[in-house]
Symmetry: C2
Subunit: 197 residues, 2 copies
Amino acid sequence: MTGTTKRDTYTPESLLAVAVGVFIERGYDGTSMEHLSKAAGISKSSIYHHVRSKEELLRRAISRALDGLFGVLDEDGAKEGKAVDRLEYVTRRTTEVLMAELPYVTLLLRVRGNTDTERWAMERRREFDHRVADLLKQAAADGDIRADVEVRLATRLLFGMINSIAEWYRPQAHGAAANGEVAESVVRMAFAGLRTP
Amino acid sequence: MTGTTKRDTYTPESLLAVAVGVFIERGYDGTSMEHLSKAAGISKSSIYHHVRSKEELLRRAISRALDGLFGVLDEDGAKEGKAVDRLEYVTRRTTEVLMAELPYVTLLLRVRGNTDTERWAMERRREFDHRVADLLKQAAADGDIRADVEVRLATRLLFGMINSIAEWYRPQAHGAAANGEVAESVVRMAFAGLRTP
């Protein structure tokens, strides 16, 4: 016990939140159990009481982001109606999940693939992108999406717009009310464009 | 002289290209003169023959990106006509400059501000964003941009879409022909939206 350690009152969730903050700040590779111990203010052995490894913390954090994102695809709005409307629904909800689960989704977006967990995360992220690209393809086949933007490129630009929100959105500064406003603006811009008709 | 060094046939431009590649791969902070020497295959003293410091290489690289971007604002299409048309022109040309000067703009986008040069880069980047935001504001005042997306948010989403291209665009893979196609698609999506009217 050093002066920096405190009684371990962490739940799996609250310890995860601390770890994710450190992963984002230092990068996953640059984070040691020592860094996590210091940030949490508990000993390394206390951390090992909660998890077996640093990689388990990463896996849990990434799972939380992926559960949120894939959960959207299981919602009624993503499964019923015309493809273009489902795509619009998924765009809105994906944006909302990104903001609600900001640190977890940020971590998912930054993962680069040096460990099994990171490769799995990238694979699942690609799977999500493909599911959305399929919606776009269907909407294009229905004639509801403009034919002069290639589907793969449109998917990339759409996610580029959504994912960029992680770079500036801060819940404390923007407030929960901004969440719906941002998601609605993404939908308006992506589907109807900036120009007034 | 070690076995890895070669005769110094670098021009300022070709040495800069090597340095930028290393900066992007290792991060600016994580790059030493030793790394640059190894990547270029010439001795450190040969590098010092070209530049005074690592920071000078960063400044030159960032300047190249900024010259390209600010150059767009001086082109006729950015200065003449209605604000919404100028904004559309700047969007297309900014996208083209990002692709044409990919490593330099990528470096600019990643800079975080630990040195004077990095802080200057961030300041200039903000200035560019403000110039574009002003165009958006004028276009909104003209009634040519939808009023239900807040101007600052629209600027962020527009740059989010454009800047995300740096994450996947590779000139070797996509070819010069893709450059104009991507820029045109960004304009279509940002200004007219994905949905067919």
